[in-house]
């Protein structure tokens, strides 16, 4: 069955309340992940990527006042599950790694002990068996001398190594979905590449799906199967990677692609996108991108373009998908 769906998010909205104001962080998104798929969720900071991922695990902070829609995982709606059932899924079926491993590791517990916890809680391993499993995992994520690494504290590792420990922790129970929230943003370029390759290897060898959250289209260029672009709390375009890079439809996607440096563009001036991302407290009416969009018309200011299927697997939320952008110098 190749058409099985692992995760299906439908019309998810998340609202925060801060200083007595409602802040819509996510405004009705649809997202589908197939088993074993590498799905990249790309957007500028503040677009609602992290909020989306934390909603999947139901680990949103307490100032979230409204959470609507559905998140189906293997046909169970995660938002309807009891806390106890949900807890059994976390770490076992869905796990997560984060942007700054230094902050997301407990400073006063040994690395091995932290990795061991999920194995012991979810799989009932004995202390000894769990220790062996941790060493296997450490070897798998490329930590040389796993025995030594086991007894080290997080501050004794480099940042890249810490992220490897986090990855070992996340894959320890063979989850079917790994959420990676900007896992390479705080790393050096060389290490970034290593971590991406490690994630790709793991994805391929264990049929694990990855939801990879990043602001950097360039990073997922070679790794992703499907890319979804998020802007101001909405997904504005979603397509298989090749399609997205060869025939992007949304003007925002096209401007994003134009801003990635590449060999072909050598010698030409890199394009930026005029304006800034709207503040979530103050999102423009109609298409949220219209104030920055070179194609914007009156219609865009008044109506919200729905995310519609343009061709197989390619969806876009724009009234003028694929219309040529005239560069005005």
């Amino acid at each position: 069955m190749g058409t099985e769906v692992l995760l299906e998010i439908k019309d998810l909205s998340v609202e925060f309340t801060a200083h007595q104001r409602k802040i819509p962080a996510v405004r009705g998104i649809d997202l589908t992940i197939l088993p074993g798929q590498f799905h990249a969720l790309v957007g500028e900071s503040g677009a609602g990527k992290t909020v989306t991922s934390l909603s999947i695990l139901r680990l949103l902070p307490s100032n979230v006042t409204s959470l609507r829609g559905s998140i189906k995982f293997n046909d169970h709606d995660l938002l309807q599950l009891s806390e106890e059932v949900m807890r059994n899924l976390r770490g076992r079926e869905i796990s997560m790694i984060f942007q700054e491993p230094a902050k997301y590791l407990n400073p006063s517990l040994k690395a091995g002990v932290q990795v061991m916890e999920a194995i012991r809680y979810h799989m009932g391993y004995s202390e000894k068996a769990a220790r062996e499993r941790v060493c296997e995992l450490f070897e798998k994520v490329g930590l040389s001398d796993p025995e030594l690494a086991f007894d080290r504290y997080p501050h004794e590792f480099s940042v890249g190594m810490k992220q490897r420990v986090m990855i070992a922790m996340a894959i320890s129970c063979n989850p079917s979905l790994l959420i990676a929230d900007e896992p390479t943003t705080s790393l050096d370029v060389g290490v970034q590449r290593q971590i991406i390759h490690l994630l790709l290897d793991l994805q391929r060898s264990s049929k694990m799906a990855i939801l990879y959250i990043t602001h950097d289209l360039g990073i997922v260029r070679y790794a992703a199967d499907v890319i979804s672009i998020m802007y101001a709390g909405k997904i504005i375009e979603s397509a298989p990677k090749d399609l997205l890079f060869t025939s992007p439809l949304h003007p925002y996607t096209r401007l994003l692609l134009a801003s990635i440096p590449s060999r072909e563009k050598r010698g030409t001036r890199l394009q930026g996108i005029p304006g800034t991302v709207p503040n979530p407290e103050d999102i423009p009416p109609g298409c949220a991108f219209h104030p920055r969009c070179p194609l914007a018309q009156q219609k865009c200011k008044e109506n919200v373009p729905p995310l519609v299927r343009i061709e197989a697997g390619h969806r876009c939320a724009c009234f003028f998908p694929g219309k040529e952008i005239r560069s005005n110098p």
Partner: protein, 331 residues
């Protein structure tokens, strides 16, 4: 009524944020702290000596009585050494202290050190039991207040700690004694030869210190529960109790244990007061009756001993702290 409180209670938050610094090898740290301890140890007998000399009145005259014959007083003076120049006395005092020689009691003629060592275990166990009591109160209540902050539980905790801080432990001791030894005789009224005798005084000590530590546990837990690694722990599917006690409390305890360690010294002081209330034959009773009887060698030796134990405890707490938290090995 002045409550028995220390200046430390007002500003413990300094310890809450983990300092970052160069990692110093443990032996260098040990050396540094040892030098500091050594200097303190040198300073203590000096202070004790001069404080006792500054107090007005001729000890020999006080001991012998004002109407004693002059030759008796003179005899006592030479026995105490107070007829010699102060600097000479000081030199002799330091030398004898260095040899752990504190002289003999004027009253019982027993060696001062033996008197102290006979009484000290009781005072020490009272302070330890009091500290345990304080932690047993502070940790669960503090964690609960932090987890359910701004609820009735939390307010209850705050009220308890406010009352606990305001109640002097000797007053609490008297109330406990009246309630649980006189009205409902569950615990013995006098003496100190069984662990039962320690229950009421250590509860009296523990409530007071526990109230202080409770607030510290609450603050530290709130800080830790807001940190990112808590999200990681939850994302692993760990039960909430494990997240709180294994992950958050472990880090929250670092500042709490430091303060608890420093307070242990004050615990000794509190124990000395409670010994009076509960008629326990500890170090405090020894020193106090020595004061009443003007038994100068015992006062001198006892004060020195308490001060030395105090600094030794702080030294050990310091070392333990840097062992427990390897990130904070700074001078």
């Amino acid at each position: 009524m002045a409550s028995v409180s220390s200046p430390l209670e007002s500003g413990p938050t300094v310890f809450l944020s983990g300092q970052k610094g160069l990692r110093i090898p443990f032996f260098i740290l040990l050396l540094r702290k040892s030098i500091r301890l050594f200097l303190t140890m040198l300073l203590i007998p000096t202070v004790v000596f001069f404080v006792l000399r500054i107090i007005p009145g001729d000890p020999a005259l006080v001991v012998a009585g004002f109407d004693a014959p002059p030759e008796v007083v003179e005899n006592l003076r030479s026995k105490l050494g107070t007829n010699r120049p102060p600097l000479e006395q000081y030199e002799e005092w330091i030398l004898s202290v260095a040899q752990l020689e504190f002289g003999t009691s004027l009253i019982s003629n027993e060696p001062v050190l033996k008197l102290i060592l006979d009484r000290f275990p009781l005072t020490l166990s009272l302070a330890v039991a009091g500290m345990l009591c304080a932690l047993l109160i502070a940790i669960p209540l503090g964690v609960m207040s932090a987890v359910r902050r701004w609820t009735l539980w939390d307010y209850g905790g705050m009220v308890f700690s406010q009352i606990g801080i305001s109640l002097p432990s000797f007053w609490l001791g008297i109330i406990l004694l009246l309630l649980f030894a006189v009205k409902y005789p569950l615990f013995p009224l006098f003496g100190g030869d069984s662990p039962w005798h320690l229950v009421l005084p250590s509860v009296a000590l523990g409530i007071n210190r526990g109230a202080v530590l409770l607030r510290l546990v609450r603050t530290a837990m709130i800080e830790e529960l807001g940190k990112e690694y808590i999200i990681t722990a939850r994302s692993k599917g760990l039960p909430e109790l494990v997240v709180r006690y294994r992950h958050a409390l472990r880090n929250a305890l670092l500042p709490v244990l430091t303060i608890a360690g420093i307070q242990f010294g004050y615990m000794l002081g509190g124990a000395i007061i409670l010994e009076q209330v509960f008629s326990l034959p500890g170090l405090g009773r020894l020193i106090l009756s020595a004061v009443f009887q003007r038994d100068f060698p015992v006062i001198q030796g006892g004060t020195l001993f308490v001060a030395a134990v105090f600094s030794l405890v702080n030294f050990l707490v310091d070392l333990l702290y840097s062992l427990v938290n390897p990130r904070i090995r700074v001078g």
